[in-house]
């Protein structure tokens, strides 16, 4: 009797790339729902636009590259890029901003480098940076969070703004949007109002809550919860988020101890902006992160330090995207110099 032959091992763990990508997507759900609750319809529009544009772009390029379109689309990687990008963009981003970022993420950052597994930079973050540099004004358009003044604008206002760029006669963009706490503190500090003063100012006090910003603290807490689940499931590496958070907390704590008035607390940094989204969902993107055990500590900690530097002294509302992409550049070098010593190595 004749048999077919396959290479060893002949058994396989029940695990697939698709499975991993979808677990990451599931883990995003609580945080994404919190974002919709606090920032309104714009978050949903971002998701819809980003997902459709990313998938269409991916399909076209796969077709051009003569790949199996259906199966590759189903691996979930383009969907994940779309979701991360959509959640990073401001909730009142006009439609074309999301489209440009999505096309750039998939076409340039992912496929021009060879597609899944070959991209040196996190595609979502590259897309984000492109629009951040090109359209800095639009990138600050976060809707007024739930619980502050009248909260976020209703469906039709948001829809008209995002897709048509029009607003009801009595409204201006400033009346439906608000600066994020990180951004606000930065501009206030530049006008020599220290943090306590800013937080106690009647015009802004509603923006702040016990831990960090109103809304933002819940968004971050739920991304943290989803992230912990991911780590427990073995999908995300635990070292990168741990190193990232320890480094960010230690550095921000150091500065706030030195100068409380002009530096936000460690808790504020840990639960503001994209911190938890970055820690568990962006910095952990395996393709672009360091892959050695020691390298992951260095990689995560460096991102934490860069995020703090950019948030505090940089000219941008948040530092996540730049920090991640800068460390993406360093990842191959880190990997090379952090090879573990193998079994029986005399220098161990």
């Amino acid at each position: 009797m004749l048999f077919k032959q396959t290479p060893s091992p002949h058994i396989k763990a029940n695990i697939s790339v698709q499975d991993m990508m979808f677990k990451v997507l599931y883990a995003l759900i609580p945080g994404a729902l919190a974002m919709m609750y606090f920032f309104g319809w714009g978050v949903l529009f971002n998701l819809i636009i980003a997902i459709s544009v990313c998938l269409i772009t991916e399909a076209i390029i796969l077709r051009l590259r003569q790949h199996d379109v259906y199966h590759t689309l189903m691996d979930g990687s383009a969907l994940l890029t779309a979701c991360l990008l959509a959640l990073a963009l401001p909730s009142l981003a006009p439609w074309w901003l999301t489209v440009i970022a999505s096309v750039f993420a998939i076409a340039v950052a992912k496929h021009l480098y060879g597609g899944l597994g070959f991209n040196p930079f996190n595609p979502a973050m590259v897309g984000y940076i492109v629009v951040m540099i090109s359209f800095p004004l639009e990138m600050t358009l976060w809707s007024t969070p739930m619980g502050v003044n009248a909260g976020w604008p209703d469906f039709s206002t948001t829809f008209n703004w995002v897709f048509l760029g029009t607003l009801p006669v009595k409204e201006t963009i400033d009346s439906i949007s608000m600066a994020t706490p990180i951004d606000l503190i930065k501009t206030q500090l530049s006008q020599l109002h220290d943090i306590t003063e800013t937080r106690n100012n009647v015009r802004y006090s509603a923006l702040f809550s016990s831990i960090s910003g109103t809304g933002w603290q819940w968004v971050n807490l739920l991304f943290l919860a989803g992230g912990i689940w991911l780590v427990k499931k073995g999908v995300a590496d635990w070292r990168i988020p741990t190193a990232f958070l320890i480094s960010l907390v230690l550095i921000s704590n150091l500065f706030s101890v030195i100068d409380y008035a002009n530096n936000s607390s460690a808790m504020f940094h840990a639960f503001s902006g994209g911190t938890m989204l970055c820690a568990f969902f962006i910095a952990t993107d395996p393709v672009t992160a360091s892959t050695t055990p020691r390298g992951r500590w260095i990689y995560g900690a460096s991102i934490g330090a860069l995020v703090y530097i950019i948030r505090n002294w940089g000219g941008y509302p948040d530092g996540i995207a730049f920090a991640v992409v800068l460390m993406n550049i360093a990842a191959p070098l880190i990997d090379y110099y952090t090879q573990p010593k193998v079994y029986g190595d005399p220098n161990r």
């Binding site: 048999f3 077919k4 396959t6 290479p7 060893s8 002949h10 079994y343 161990r348």
Partner: protein
């Protein structure tokens, strides 16, 4: 004695579904004899053995058919009495899939043994070298799967601890488990013989904690023994704790230095089945002509352990176990992690065949096409050698030899953990094997071309030397001729006179020197008596 808290751990590893119960339900069954046996001459690591018999010759059961080719080699013996019907190339179970020289024995069903001289308990009085010779002549190789000639391993004498490897960490395989259940006493005697040869101070029998019955059987045999030489060490069930280096790390907490032998840290490892084979070789004077093999998997009707003669066709073993099920898919020799699939069941069982695994179609998760590596690092987490499989894969795909060597490709033990966990279904081990062979090939070619180049250079040098010599001779000849013609021309001048004067001066000097010497000699003669 059976504590697990004092032992070390190796990095990585996997917890796998064992499926051992499939084949442990019944006792070891003996197989009926076949008409024909196919004995490959290369069933071990090392040099192929050299045939001692000719086609048409009658051989007896246990007769040596081929002797070891050199130091690292092993003899093979006839499993039955009968006629050597052929000596030719035949497909053998080997990962390369290439045919090799085999001796075919036509069974006469008389089961006539050669004359035997069992040592029985006298092995205690035998010398190390005497026992080692018996083990070598019995053709014993490591039966855990590696098939390294056992006598060669035992030449080291600086060994404190003999580790008996009864870990059997691959799923499905249970031949060592049932061997210990049924032949614990014989296994201990075999280990005692090895201990005697290498003068070990203690013997640790390492068993995975998923074999409680084997542990019990060995424990009671140890209690009967009462010498204190043996100890059981129960180890947790983690693949690949049965790998020699991993087991040594678990038991001793030390890592075998790279490129060295375990003996250098005072340890020698043998498989339990090897100890049993050594018992039979020394105690009963039976060479290695049979072994216990697990025939198992969801693709075979009655999975069980069988005592099978080396050279039996695989098809006969499967038939003995009820045949294939309808959903049978792949035929694997060895375990599911490190075994290799056979393309046909006409191949013979060899000394290293610890398992014949027939998988069922629904179990096969191998995909035709794999996805790109997403560098998730799951492979890094499970690698027992602390390699970076994802980097090795990257460099193996791009054929970057320097980087592959820098990332320690040759330390890979091919355990398959990385490929098992890979979410992209990349057959990583296959890539590493291919890269290793390619590098070896390049190395061989480089050496061959080096030799060729050296020969060419030497040849060129010789030609050059001959040319120079010839030129030198010509030059001398030319000079001589020139001198002669010069001399002739100068005859009439004072040149001749000068020559003569010089010759006279020389003669005078010689005469004076002789005079001085003679006087010296006289002085010495005068002095000596005084």
């Amino acid at each position: 004695m059976t504590q697990t808290d004092t032992i070390s751990k190796f990095d990585g590893g996997l917890t796998l579904v064992a499926y051992k119960h499939l084949s442990t339900g019944s006792a070891i069954s003996s197989m009926e004899q076949c008409k024909q046996y196919i004995i490959p001459l290369q069933q071990h690591i090392g040099i192929i053995s050299q045939p001692l018999v000719k086609k048409g010759e009658r051989v007896l059961k246990g007769q040596m058919l081929a002797k070891p080719g050199n130091m690292i080699s092993a003899a093979v013996h006839s499993p039955v009495s009968g006629i050597v019907s052929d000596i030719k190339q035949h497909e053998v179970p080997h990962i390369s899939g290439l045919p090799d020289l085999c001796i075919f024995i036509e069974n006469d069903f008389k089961d006539e043994w050669i004359e035997r001289h069992p040592l029985a308990d006298d092995y205690n009085q035998a010398t190390s070298s005497g026992l080692r010779n018996i083990i070598r002549d019995a053709g014993i190789v490591g039966l855990g799967g590696a098939a390294f000639p056992s006598a060669v391993k035992q030449t080291e004498i600086n060994i404190k601890t003999l580790i008996l490897n009864a870990v059997e960490c691959e799923p499905y395989i249970s031949c060592d488990d049932v061997l210990m259940r049924e032949h614990a006493q014989e296994v201990l005697t075999g280990a005692d013989i090895i201990g005697h040869v290498i003068k070990a101070r203690q013997c640790i029998i390492a068993i995975e904690d998923n074999k409680p019955e084997a542990i019990k059987a060995i424990q009671s045999a140890i209690d009967n023994d009462g010498t204190g030489f043996f100890n059981i060490q129960v180890v947790p069930t983690i693949y690949p704790s049965g790998g020699e280096k991993q087991l040594i790390q678990i038991i001793t907490g030390e890592e075998v230095p790279r490129g060295r032998y375990p003996a250098e840290i005072g340890v020698l490892c043998h498989n339990v089945a090897t100890a049993y084979a050594i018992y039979r070789a020394v105690y009963l004077d039976e060479p290695l002509i049979s072994r216990i093999t697990t025939v198992t998997g969801h693709g075979v009707k009655q999975p069980q352990n069988i005592e099978v003669l080396v050279g039996t066709p695989v098809s006969a073993c499967i038939e003995h176990c009820g045949g294939y099920t309808e959903s049978s898919d792949e035929l694997i020799m060895g375990g599911p992690m490190m075994g290799f699939s056979l393309n046909s069941d006409t191949l013979p069982v060899v000394k290293a065949s610890n398992c014949l695994l027939v998988t069922a179609k629904e179990e096969n998760r191998h995909k035709q096409k794999h996805l790109p590596c997403i560098r998730c690092g799951k492979c890094v987490e499970v690698c027992p050698v602390r390699l970076l499989p994802q980097q090795l894969y990257w460099y193996a795909s791009s054929k970057n030899v320097d980087r592959l060597i820098e990332h320690n490709l040759f330390d890979c033990i091919e355990c398959g953990c990385c490929a098992y966990v890979c979410p992209s279904d990349i057959p990583l081990v296959q890539y590493y094997r291919y890269a290793k062979t390619t590098i070896w090939q390049q190395e061989r070619e480089r050496k061959a071309s080096d030799i060729a180049r050296q020969r060419h250079e030497k040849h060129q040098q010789r030609l050059e030397k001959i040319k120079l010599e010839r030129e030198e001779k010509l030059r001398q000849k030319r000079e001589l001729l020139k001198k002669k013609s010069n001399g002739n021309a100068a005859d009439n001048k004072d040149g001749d006179k000068d020559n003569k004067q010089a010759a006279i001066a020389e003669a005078i000097a010689r005469a004076q020197a002789k005079k001085v010497e003679r006087n010296k000699g006289k002085d010495n003669e005068n002095k000596e008596p005084g």
